[in-house]
């Protein structure tokens, strides 16, 4: 089957959503049902195709996962040696799977949750464009191609927040846009610098890695180039102190936007570190690691404190992303296989769990027309099933072992005890303790949220509100796969660890010490 997919599989996968979007352009806007069907159909077909490819990929076995598969490497912009170079390996496979899963679920949820001011056509087209952008970013093996897909993601999300968002949507949208653009501009400068210092022959990621490894580029230059990427990716993650766009974007975005943002978009940043910055510039990564680690642990504590200060449920969940992505970045900063494997696991887990939390927040908002925590309460009485799902997701989010969240968190903490050679062990052990302290704060703000929204009795305001009902069918269908996967990966973390391990070890190259975990 591998042969079968080899020449067209990835291209079809990436551009199928765009085909669906073009098709929808031809359908009049008032035919909403048809739009929903086309959009969902497209993503399901994409998902099935991707599913087959990933199944085939899985079947190749451990030994082949670290090699790029289904590679297409064609001439694209010859004048700057940028190529259409795509492929899938163990690092990208879990994130592609996550994207392929989350987008259809978002569309199912959209079936009866098109946010104000309506216009399903445009809304769904934007989601499809996003889909292409996200998939493209995860398969691109050429920096220019990656940059293009990375930017493709930006506009649809800008419009989703700016048009379908909450009251302060415009402020949030522009902040999101400018912040990210700022980062990507620096990133582009870094890409270009990298291109020139390596002799201006290629933008291919593996090619650049080889050239940097073989060449004798001054460490200072490498560090500067890494710095640009650090800002670009760090803003997307987002890392403290570049995170302030995130709470606003999340709070104002429609539920679908928040879910996609949390589940996939943030991972573009962390993915950038793992795929591009560290493999190409391992020596600079060692120099930057203490700073990345520092910002990561500040993010953990700071995000948690931010959560404790929130009065709005959605904003609280948004701040929790800052803390959770802190663990991912801590794992990455260790530059050890265990840390980075954990980071990739953490990306998937955070996607599933925080995506679910945003879904729940959206549904709570639909029913109560507010997310102000002090007005809520007794969700377990009025909507018991949703209440338990919220309880389950808070437990998953606080990193309970046996659920997915734990496997991104604990191994990252563990890896910080013994970071890669050349990085101060003492410093990272301090980080480890701070990160471990963050688990207590995480439990604090999440359980506090649960207590104030789900426990207790409903407030008088909502006690007899007929709009407050338990789960809808579309919610069940959209949420169940996420809930099942949270448990599944909680008990069988090996699936993702095995998948990523070989590739991570391979891409880290000289950073990996013999016998270290």
């Amino acid at each position: 089957m591998t042969e079968f997919f080899n020449d067209w599989g990835i291209t079809a996968l990436v551009f199928l959503p765009l085909v669906g979007a073009l098709l929808m352009m031809l359908v009049p806007a008032k035919d909403e049902e048809l739009h929903k069907t086309i959009a969902l159909g497209t993503t399901v077909i994409t998902g099935v195709l991707g599913g087959f490819m990933l199944w085939d990929f899985w079947g190749m076995g451990k030994a082949n996962w670290s090699t790029l598969q289904y590679v297409q490497d064609r001439t694209w912009i010859d004048v700057i040696n940028a190529r259409y170079f795509v492929g899938i390996d163990g690092i990208s496979a879990p994130l592609i799977a996550l994207t392929l899963l989350v987008v259809p679920l978002v569309l199912i949820y959209s079936w009866n949750h098109i946010p104000n001011p309506g216009n399903a056509k445009m809304f769904l087209i934007l989601i499809l464009v996003l889909h292409t952008g996200m998939l493209g970013s995860f398969v691109a093996q050429d920096l220019v191609l990656f940059f293009v897909f990375f930017e493709v993601v930006l506009l649809p999300m800008y419009f989703m927040i700016g048009v379908w968002g909450g009251e302060q949507r415009l402020y949030a949208a522009i902040k999101f846009f400018l912040f990210t653009l700022f980062g990507s501009a620096l990133m582009l400068v870094s890409f270009l610098a990298l291109y020139w210092v390596t002799g201006g022959t290629t933008f291919s990621i593996p090619g650049l890695a080889d050239q940097v490894a073989a060449g004798d580029i001054a460490l200072g230059t490498q560090v500067a180039i890494f710095g640009g990427m650090f800002l670009g990716f760090g803003i997307k993650v987002p890392m403290f102190p570049f995170h302030t766009w995130l709470p606003d974007a999340h709070t104002q975005a429609p539920t679908q936007g928040s879910v996609i943002l949390a589940a996939v978009l943030l991972k573009l940043g962390t993915y950038g570190f793992v795929r591009i910055a560290i493999p190409i510039l391992p020596e600079a990564a060692v120099e930057w690691a203490p700073w990345i680690g520092l910002l990561a642990v500040i993010g953990i504590i700071y995000g948690a404190l931010g959560c404790l200060a929130q009065t709005d449920m959605k904003r609280l969940i948004a701040f929790s992303s800052v803390a959770h992505m802190g663990y991912v970045m801590l794992g990455i900063a260790t530059l050890t296989p265990f840390g980075i494997n954990a980071a990739i696991f953490g990306m998937v887990a955070h996607g599933l769990i925080t995506g679910m939390l945003f879904f729940i927040a959206g549904s709570v908002k639909d029913r109560f027309h507010t997310l102000e925590i002090k007005r809520l309460g007794g969700l377990l009485v009025q909507a018991p099933k949703m209440g338990w799902i919220l309880g389950f997701c808070t437990m998953a989010s606080l990193g309970l072992p046996g659920l997915a969240g734990f496997w991104g968190e604990f191994p990252a903490i563990l890896a910080a005890y013994s970071p890669a050679e050349g990085i101060s062990t003492t410093l990272f052990r301090v980080y480890m303790v701070i990160a471990a302290l963050g688990t207590v704060l995480a439990a604090g703000y999440l359980l506090w949220l649960l207590q104030r929204t789900a426990f207790g009795t409903p407030s008088e305001e909502f006690a007899d509100d007929p709009e407050i009902v338990d789960m809808h069918a579309s919610e069940w269908i959209a949420w169940l796969p996420l809930l099942v996967l949270i448990v599944f990966f909680g008990f069988l973390p090996g699936i993702i660890f095995d998948l990523t391990d070989g590739t991570v070890v391979d891409r880290l190259g000289s950073l990996v010490a013999e016998g270290s975990p």
Binding site: L170, I174, Y302, A309, P401, I413, F455, G456
Partner: protein, 735 residues
């Protein structure tokens, strides 16, 4: 030489049950899922699934125990082929050979069983796999039996106790999960798995403590339990991390222990690891100063309290120390010492916890503090090197403490769901003869009255401190010994008070109380029976002969090679046993008389005003300190938690909104200002007026952020490109 060192002989036990021990936690886990899915539609609302699974698990645990004991006994006195092979292997390594020979003391002539490990790969990193599996040895078999047994009785008892509860099905589902999580933890072959089980136990207790979450007090108690445990978990995570790297990148419990025994890990590393793990023990096993969640956890249904206190949850910490004993042995410098952190924490906990039990008027809280105190006893025993005594106390304590909690539940059932001994109880012996008798027996066992179960285990611990002449413990822990004796006296005293207030004197509540039904009294009788006989499993051989003595030690204690090289057993002392028992009896009798006299004046008084506290200022202030629980709750809740949640979180958020965001917004506004400046003075002056007209949208007064709210797509576009242009300009300048 080989034969002379018979003590070091081991054999590998074999049985289907050891290979398939995973079925025991799997059963209640399956029950959890089935109850959630189908429970509500069944005639007994899911209780039948829970009971069926836990009874089957109990059956399997009994068979596993039987197989373990059978294997052990069948290898005694004969040199099996395996034992000889084992010896040869050991003999190749002279060091461990000598260590093993030394460790055999107390088990001379016995062939010990090797642990049985069955593992699967769980996850891998850098090509190295980390496993999940089962570790069957005496310690885990003993716990399997205790957990499934207590859980079975709690299940049966609960069908009556929570009958008609609004979340009956849900209650049984989580009872099953709780049992499953504890069994999973007990069987852990790796520390990673132990962490998972450890925290799953915690979350189940959260759900069950907060079972009646409509009331804020209950959900507060649940949160407190979870968060306090989370604080200790920092220590667990870090401690296990240290051990992982110290033992050569492994989570395997046996490998870690071997590395600690063979001196492959530096003493200072082990000290750090054991200090961190001690924090986890303090929170999980309710050790001073992280014990404060335990009494509050009484907010949950009483059978849950019985389960938490007897078999699941709180003994997890003690169990973990027992599991990784070589780590603590070296890390805490247990041998040959007279004080160490673990023993001290245990000693302080048993005294301070016991003192708090005196001032409670809620019968469940008395028992809760009594658990704190007894857990302190176990930790103290581990701290002075009395491994077997600690495990034995865990074993006997499970029965009598479960009996006491279930008895308290029965009493409350009769007294209209009150737990207030002073206001609603008294004289209940007339109304509830079965509950009274079983409670009396269990209290006697707890107080260490011979020949009840608690006497034997407590006596072993006291001997184990080495503080009494002729006991020859692993060290000479005089201070710890004194704390143990004091606690023994205090335990008898507060239990005498409890029994008096509950069952003697006149009934002070309203309406006639009644004895509970069979589903409540039968478990009580079974547990009371065990509170009598459980102690006979480890009577000193010196007193009862080899045939009867030290069975528990032989079955449960690991093989000598699995224990630290200089581990020894203390010798029992008849004089110590007599003195400790007399002390307990005297303390109990003294308090008994005190209350008898006090209530003789006014048998119906629900508050007595002329107690000790009202007559002595010193006693009054002591009483006040105890009532305020040493002010620890004020420190945690009002200072630490509220401080984090309030000022600290608000300050961080203020910083976020005003400083960080201020910079961002300032940068945005600055760019806009710059753009406006360029527009006004450069662009305007040189470019056609019609162009100005179109571009004016982005440039005019009020700033971009307010301006864009007019909501026109074209303006966004203008704005976006404008912003992008500014940024590009900045970079051009910067590069």
């Amino acid at each position: 030489m080989l034969l002379a060192a018979g003590a070091s002989e081991t054999f590998t036990p074999e049985s289907w049950f050891f290979d398939n021990a995973w079925t025991i936690p799997a059963l209640p886990c399956a029950a959890f899922i089935l109850i959630l899915l189908f429970g509500k539609r069944l005639p007994y609302k899911g209780a039948e699934i829970g009971i069926a699974s836990v009874v089957t698990a109990l059956g399997l645990a009994i068979l596993t125990t039987g197989a373990w004991v059978g294997e052990y006994e069948s290898h005694q006195g004969s040199h099996s082929a395996e034992a000889v092979t084992q010896d040869v292997e050991l003999a190749q390594d002279t060091d461990s050979f000598e260590i093993a020979a030394d460790a055999g003391e107390g088990g001379e002539g016995h062939v010990k069983a090797e642990p049985v490990v069955r593992k699967l790969d769980w996850l891998s990193s850098n090509g190295k796999s980390f496993g999940i599996g089962t570790l069957v040895d005496g310690q885990s078999v003993m716990m399997l039996l205790v957990v499934t047994f207590i859980s079975t009785l709690v299940h049966v008892y609960s069908t009556d106790y929570v009958h008609g509860d609004r979340r009956f099905t849900h209650y049984f589902a989580f009872l099953s999960l709780f049992t499953s999580a504890m069994l999973f933890m007990v069987l852990s072959a790796t520390t990673l798995q132990l962490i998972v089980g450890w925290e799953l136990v915690g979350v189940c207790s959260f759900v069950l403590i907060g079972h009646w979450w409509e009331e804020k007090a209950n959900s507060d108690a649940a949160m407190k339990a979870f968060l306090t445990n989370r604080v200790g978990d920092i220590g667990l995570l870090i401690g296990m991390t240290i051990l992982f790297f110290a033992a050569g990148n492994t989570f395997d419990i046996l490998d870690i222990n071997d590395a600690a025994i063979n001196g492959e890990i530096a003493h200072s590393t082990l000290t750090w690891a054991s200090i961190c793990l001690m924090a986890a023990v303090m929170s999980k096993s309710g050790q001073f100063i992280l014990h404060t969640w335990l009494p509050d956890a009484m907010a949950g249904p009483t059978p849950v309290s019985a389960l938490i206190h007897a078999a699941t949850m709180v003994v997890a910490g003690v169990y973990m120390v027992g599991r990784l004993y070589p780590v603590f042995w070296d890390g805490m410098s247990i041998a040959g010492s007279s004080i160490n952190l673990m023993a001290l924490i245990g000693g302080i906990t048993c005294v301070f916890g016991g003192a708090l039990a005196f001032v409670q008027r809620d019968i469940k809280k008395v028992l809760a503090y009594s658990t704190v105190s007894q857990l302190g006893y176990m930790v103290m025993a581990l701290g002075v090197g009395a491994w077997t005594a600690a495990m034995f106390h865990l074993f006997t304590h499970a029965f009598f403490k479960a009996c006491l909690f279930l008895g308290a539940g029965s009493v409350s059932h009769a007294c209209h769901h009150s737990f207030d001994m002073k206001a609603d109880m008294g004289g209940l012996r007339k109304y509830m003869p079965t509950t009274h008798k079983t409670f009396l027996i269990a209290s006697g066992a707890l107080a260490g009255i011979p020949p009840l179960a608690g006497f034997w285990s407590k006596d072993e611990i006291l001997a184990g401190t080495g503080g009494w002449p002729g006991t020859n413990g692993n060290g000479t822990y005089y201070i710890i010994f004194a704390m143990g004796m004091l606690t023994a006296a205090m335990t008898a005293a507060y239990m005498a008070r409890t029994i008096w207030l509950t069952f003697y004197g006149d009934y002070r509540g309203h309406e006639e109380p009644h004895e509970s039904g069979k589903r409540i009294t039968v478990p009580l009788m079974i547990l009371a029976f065990l509170a009598v006989v459980a102690g006979f499993f480890n009577m000193p051989s010196q007193w009862v002969g080899d045939g009867l003595g030290l069975k528990f030690e032989q079955w449960v204690e690991p093989a000598g090679t699995r224990l630290p090289g200089n581990f020894t057993h203390a010798k029992p002392s008849i004089s110590l046993a007599i003195v400790a028992s007399l002390l307990a009896v005297a303390a109990g009798a003294f308090v008994w008389n005190y209350y008898k006299k006090l209530y003789a004046k006014d048998p119906k008084a629900t508050e007595y005003t002329d107690g000790l506290a009202s007559r002595m200022p010193l006693a009054a202030s002591a009483h006040k300190v105890l009532e305020e629980k040493y002010y620890l709750d004020h420190l945690y809740t009002d200072t630490i938690a509220a401080g984090t949640k309030g000022p600290l979180a608000r300050a961080a958020y203020w910083f976020n909104q005003n400083i960080l965001d201020g910079i961002v917004d300032g940068a945005g506004k600055g760019s806009v200002g710059l753009g406006r400046f360029i527009y006004k003075y450069i662009d305007q002056g040189t470019i056609d007026a019609t162009v100005n007209q179109t571009a004016a949208g982005a440039g005019q007064s009020g700033g971009i952020l307010r301006r864009v709210q007019s909501g026109k797509i074209r303006q966004y576009a203008t704005l976006m490109f404008g912003a992008a242009a500014v940024l590009v300009a900045i970079f051009m300048a910067a590069v």
